[in-house]
Amino acid sequence: MDEPAVESGPLKILIADDSDSDRLILKTLLRRLGHLVLDAANGEEAVALFRSGAPDLVLLDAMMPAMDGLEAAQEIKRLAGERMVPVIFISSLSEAEDLARCLEAGGDGFLSKPYNRVMIKAKINAFNRMRLMHQALSDQRDLMHERNRQLLEEQYVARRVFDNVAHTGCLDAPNIRYHASPLSVFSGDVLFASPRPAGGMLVFTGDFTGHGLPAAIGAMPVAETFYGMASKGFDGSDILQEINQKLVRILPKDMFCCGTMLEADFTLSQLKVWNGGLPDGWLVRASGEGFSLPSRHLPLGILNADEFNADMEIIRTLPGDRLILMTDGVLECSSEEGQPFGEQGVRRAVESAASGQHPFDALMNAIQGFTGRQKFGDDLTLCCLEMVDQEGLSALPEGTAPSTLAGPTEWKCVYEIRERTLGEFSPLPLLLHICMEVPGLRRKSGEIYTLLSELYNNALEHGVLELPSEWKYTPEGFGRYYSERTARLSMVSGHYIRFSFHHEPKQWGGRLRVVCEDSGQGFDFENHPVLQATEMAQSGPRYAGRGLVLLKRLAESIRFHEQGSRVDIIYDWYF
């Protein structure tokens, strides 16, 4: 209670006594003490006055005609409900049994005749203290209930706001299974999945330190960054760097976010993984073999940009391989005896999964069996992504509806990146952004991104870095390809990649011309099998070949110049 209890404050006191003289004495005594008095000559009158007058305290003669004091006390206590109204019996009763009956009827104490001024004053003060204490307690309890109700309401509102930012992305895709409570964001867990403009998926699982609103607030910028960047074509590594930098800036020192980023490329059958502080991820091969993917980084929101390493591990996969991500909540699930599920629990569940059983089901069943009758849920997030054929995925929606704004229709633009920047920066999101200013192209963001990334990767890897694509098709070559790529990127000198765009409106829509030039040696496009074959069937997943097939399928025309180091593409779009 905010105000101190004022003992001497006037109280409204109900007295009931059938003796007129006694009532007169008591009434006068109480008035002299500064209280307001309601008086009744029997039990019935007392109850009626209690209803109409709502007194703070009641003094009742035990024996009265027309409803005696005991009955009146019971009725008054019933009417008072949760309100604490002390009922004191005035009595010259002396038998223990009689006194006990008074207490059973709801009496809180006694006052004996003859009246004694000092005694009456002391008793009233004592019972008033008790009343105020009870009032303070029940006020606090009500306040707590109210605060709790408010908190829950706020959480639901916050959850709705969060859902608008985070939505479920492509978590409902047929190759993703997950368990995440709708309110798990308040235990600090987040789970996002987004398709990439050129195909493939990004999945991010995070676990913020702390609970409640602080943990949930950190989740907002992460969600916005993830979905915003993923839809613009940034890769997992770019997004991790951005999230890390943002969290370092906004989170207090003792708060950070453990997380795992997963980048799946279904056409290359390749997974990229980054784990900073979360429990081991698990790669479960279609054959049933399991490999753990331990954390190799500090959580997000700790290191400054120059110390932060966003390099992702690259894993070759086959269709049917599955990757499981989880937050601490999985390891912390406890049995009825209080034992934690732990890493052994996960390992056992994954490794002992029956053949044909989905590892996600195996793990969920194991957790359920382990925790028994205890509930688990809000602070446990589990996600499983399955590698599939790109064709196996239903087509992604065609982006946003065209804007009513006309946007630029006639423009040219040249963008060139040079030297070390080639190894440090991907121009694709920026280039995509420029093209997306044209409303007609916005619906085609996937195709445009694919065109640009094929052109750029081809120019970089085969033109500038001169990496032979054949390397990628053997397990040994695969590793060599990527380590060589990193090594060569760090030594790039005297090179550039230049994009020239030209967009013009047509009666039927618009035409985008993209010329991509690089400073490399070019390649023998005259003899390239794909460029010569009339049917586009491929004998294997030949990367360069696949890229060219894609370009041919998407573009109106494609022309190679100068030993293939200049590619000229025309892309038409229709109203």
Binding site: D18, S19, D20, S21, D22, L24, T28, S92, P114, Y115
Partner: protein
Amino acid sequence: MVDKPHLDKEALAELRDVMEDEFEMLIQTYLVDSKERIDSLKGAAMAGDSDAFAKTAHSFKGSCINIGAPRLGELCRNAEKIGQNENLAEVPPVLEAIEYEFQQVTEAFGALMERGTG
């Protein structure tokens, strides 16, 4: 037997202190009230209702003690016990004693009032 004084001077002094101007009215109220109670006692005795007799005696006792008439209070206590024990044979003498003592108390209060006002 009963050896308490008709009036408790000390208690009355305190009552006068509390009641101030209303003291006289209080005494009048008590006297009117008491007459009614004596009538109730007689009625209960005639009806042979020992429970009503005991309860009335109990209440009467309380007001006597409060007003400062201890001897009458003590007689009421005896009457309450007789009623509780359903000892109706002893009712007439105690009723008689109560009526007599009430006369004494009334006179004593009368003298007190005269002194008080005079």
